[in-house]
Amino acid sequence: MVTRVARTRGERIFQAVNAVLLTGVVLVTLYPFVTILARSLSSEAEIYAGRVNLIPRGLNLTTYKLVMSDSMFWTNYRNTVLYTVAATLISMVLTTCYAYVLSKKDLRGRGILVGLALFTMFFTGGLIPNYVLVTSLGLKNSIWAIVLPNAINVFNLLVMKAFFESLPVELEEAAAIDGLGTYGILWRIVLPLSKAVLATMVLFYAVTFWNSWFAAFLYMDRGELFPVTVYLRNLIAGATTASSTGSALGDVGQVAASIQAVTIVLTVLPILVIYPFIQRYFVSGVMLGAVKG
């Protein structure tokens, strides 16, 4: 038989208020999503009349068909997937290696290595010097311009480092006695124990790279190399500025609100789908770097 401790009246009131408040927050957060989803399924005239709120009106899939028939949309979507997968992979490898190395307290020059990473967190070279550097390395118009310069996120690095430091040294010493080399220890002992933090970092990196548009915008000269986020940004922010400042006739021509909504939905969809499966690692993953009691 399980004993349950009865909750005091105060606790019950707190729970109730908490539930109401948090439900409110959830609804407010969900509202834009539901509206965009509704808009993507509505007809344009209804959107302009302002009648589309939570429920689609003039329900039709023509806008979806329209957007999905644009070959550039799929090219850019493919680019996003490609960049995200490649960038996440490279970032994970680099960050894990760097963090593992830094977690070894007896490493000579450890302070300098940590300092180097920290320095980049506070200071950057600036937009133009970065551009000149990447271009002179010949990385322009290639996937490396997106993947390499932002490969290591210092925050992620420090979290991983702290986690690796928290692993008992005795474990690795025992493995060394059993004959495992450095790489063996990393691959067979440390990484299997770090599944939570690795999953969290994969998620952090993947979402960041999926949403990123700036690096591609900076270093790509051709439309077929853009990720879908640049495509979407142009759809939403591009033509609207033209129509409000009286530009040439060839510039004006707003993109339909329904097309914007459809593109948003299609861009966000994969992340939305993956999140629930990985988010349970989130809380534990971030806290892993904290001081152990």
């Binding site: 302009y48 009349a49 937009l127 940004r233 142009n234 033509a239 040439a248 510039d251 004006v252």
Partner: protein, 548 residues
């Protein structure tokens, strides 16, 4: 190797830095503007006005391209292939999404990586790059561009071009040029409501006031006028067109200094009597419940909704808004509704309109000047963007393929081609499928060409607007580098103060009895010093380069 002592380390670093500094490229000799002997490869020996430019050898020019989301760049557009056939030039576009075009342009110019030709540059935007010395003073090379020179002379664009001149008297932008001022923004009115109330279309702002009062009397619970275009300047369009009737500037057209023709000097716009009267007019409308106070803050969508759902009857508009945003949704809900873009109403200044005949244009980089094909490039630019044939080509396309021209010169699309609904049976969009009417290449030109793609109702509007006298452009007042720094410090705080108080006065949050206090506040923000700076710069320009 002995350990690196601190001193040796410092010496090494210093040496390395020194090497890096001296290794920097010293400024290459600036070419003499007149010596073009080494740059004529591919150029035509003697290009005349109206002559087809054809390079004497195939040439390639890099160009920055602003990609409009409605018609993404396609390398196989008929525009590019036909251009290559006629001129022998292949363009190498660096594609940039339109949403962040200016950012990338600034980056590329700053990094020294910009393509030779940089289009979509609005008058005033080139100023930022002049000091860096990376763009060419194109006024030095006007002799290479016979079509542009011809248009400047024919259409008397001298004063307009003067507004582009920098302190050295040269201008650095090749602007888009129009034969006449092209008015596009005005007010859209529900003409069926007017008819119900037995009112005529208002031709003056006072008549508009009367009309609004009648509308309010018939529909007391709503605001008859609820406006849009609140971003980035509140009342951007409304204040812009209203200001012309009060001999001042406002909204999108706001500049801190305006030329006072009577006093022959520059005055501070936000302090002018005309500006005050304009605000008083709008305040009256707001106070009487005729103009929705939210007009100056609400989103375009919110304002459009009020209009198409019949809550309001007057809204700002351009040619596109009526056709795209208002009419379809409005007539769907209310088939009897009719909406018309009325000519801009007149005010105390009379039957006038202001505006510039210049619009966005091209910059050319200094690197292009050093290319051996420089002269050919300038001739190419002259043909495509400034000759009548080039402009017609960029706008309409290939005669016989995308359009036909009858004996009277009237152009019609071929059966399958459409643009802005001028040929509803056409399935191929002129911009999307062929690459013509492209914002990067097609703008400016004769009024005939400009209006050739206007709908019938737009032509009515243009005809009525053409009867208005054009106000002269303000003379230039180019600053030196130090003056520009000083001016920038003052300009922003002055403009912000004017914007904030404009809203307050209109909405009645600040009484007009406080106008002198407002003027005093402007004085504490260096208004007088700013105006003095402007006038000094203007007088210096007149002394050095002539003009009024």
């Amino acid at each position: 190797m002995p350990p690196l002592t601190r001193r040796r380390f410092a010496a090494l670093t210093a040496g390395a830095l020194l090497l890096a500094l001296t290794g920097c490229d010293s400024d290459s000799e600036s070419s003499d503007a007149t010596d073009l002997s080494g740059n004529r490869a591919g150029a035509m020996a003697d290009l005349q006005v109206g002559q087809q430019f054809t390079a004497t050898e195939p040439l390639t020019f890099p160009i920055l391209y602003s990609s409009h989301p409605n018609y993404p760049l396609k390398k196989d557009w008929l525009f590019f292939s036909e251009l290559g056939k006629r001129t022998g030039v292949t363009l190498q576009p660096t594609e940039v999404p339109m949403s962040d075009y200016e950012k990338k342009r600034g980056l590329l110019i700053g990094a020294g990586d910009a393509p030779f030709i940089i289009p979509k540059t609005y008058p005033g935007q080139e100023r930022a790059y002049v000091a860096s010395g990376t763009i060419l003073p194109v006024s030095d090379y006007l002799d290479l561009m016979p079509n542009l020179k011809d248009k400047i002379a024919k259409w008397k664009l001298g004063p307009d071009i003067d507004t582009l001149r920098q302190e050295d008297g040269k201008f650095y932008l090749l602007p888009g040029v129009h034969e006449e001022v092209w008015p596009d923004f005005s007010l859209a009115l529900r003409t069926d409501v007017l008819k119900e109330l037995n009112l005529a279309v208002p031709t003056t702002w006072d008549e508009l006031h009367t009309v609004l009062k009648a509308m309010k009397a018939a529909h007391p619970t709503s605001y008859p006028f609820s406006d849009r275009f609140a971003v980035p300047n509140p009342g951007g369009s409304l204040l812009n067109i209203l200001a012309q009737s009060y001999s001042t500037r406002g909204g999108w057209g706001y500049l801190n200094a305006s030329w006072d023709a009577a006093g022959k000097t520059f005055a501070f716009t936000g302090a002018m009597d005309g500006y005050k009267q304009m605000l008083e007019y709008l305040h009256t409308l707001v106070a009487e419940g005729l103009l929705d106070p939210e007009s100056f803050t609400q989103s375009d969508d919110a304002a459009t909704q009020k209009f198409v759902t019949g809550k309001s009857f007057v809204i700002s508009t351009n040619a596109q808004n009526i056709v795209r945003d208002y009419r379809p949704a409005l007539t769907k809900a209310n088939p009897k509704a009719t909406v018309v873009k009325i000519p801009v109403p007149d005010g105390p200044a009379g039957h006038v309109q202001g505006g510039t005949r210049l619009e966005n244009g091209l910059m050319v980089t200094k690197k292009a000047r050093e290319s051996k094909n420089f002269v050919a490039m300038m001739q190419f630019i002259d043909w495509l963007w400034y000759s009548d044939q080039g402009e017609e080509f960029a706008k309409w396309g290939v005669e016989g393929t995308t359009y036909t021209k009858d004996a009277a010169g009237k152009r019609t699309f071929t059966a399958d081609v459409d643009f802005v609904g001028l040929n509803p049976k056409g399935t191929k969009n002129l911009q999307v499928a062929y690459g013509f009417m492209n914002g990067v290449f097609a703008y400016g030109g004769t009024t005939e060409l400009l209006q050739s793609m206007f709908s019938a109702e737009e032509l009515v509007f243009q005809k009525e607007m053409a009867s208005k006298t054009i106000l002269p452009v303000d003379p230039p007042y180019p600053f030196s580098a130090e003056e520009r720094e000083q001016a920038s410090l003052w300009e922003t705080s002055l403009k912000d103060h004017v914007d904030a108080n404009t809203l307050q006065f209109i909405l009645g949050q600040r009484d007009f009895a406080q106008w002198p206090a407002y003027l005093d506040e402007l004085k504490t923000k260096n208004m007088t010093q700013y105006v003095d700076l402007v006038n000094k710069a203007h007088e210096r320009f007149v002394k050095d380069h002539g003009g009024q």
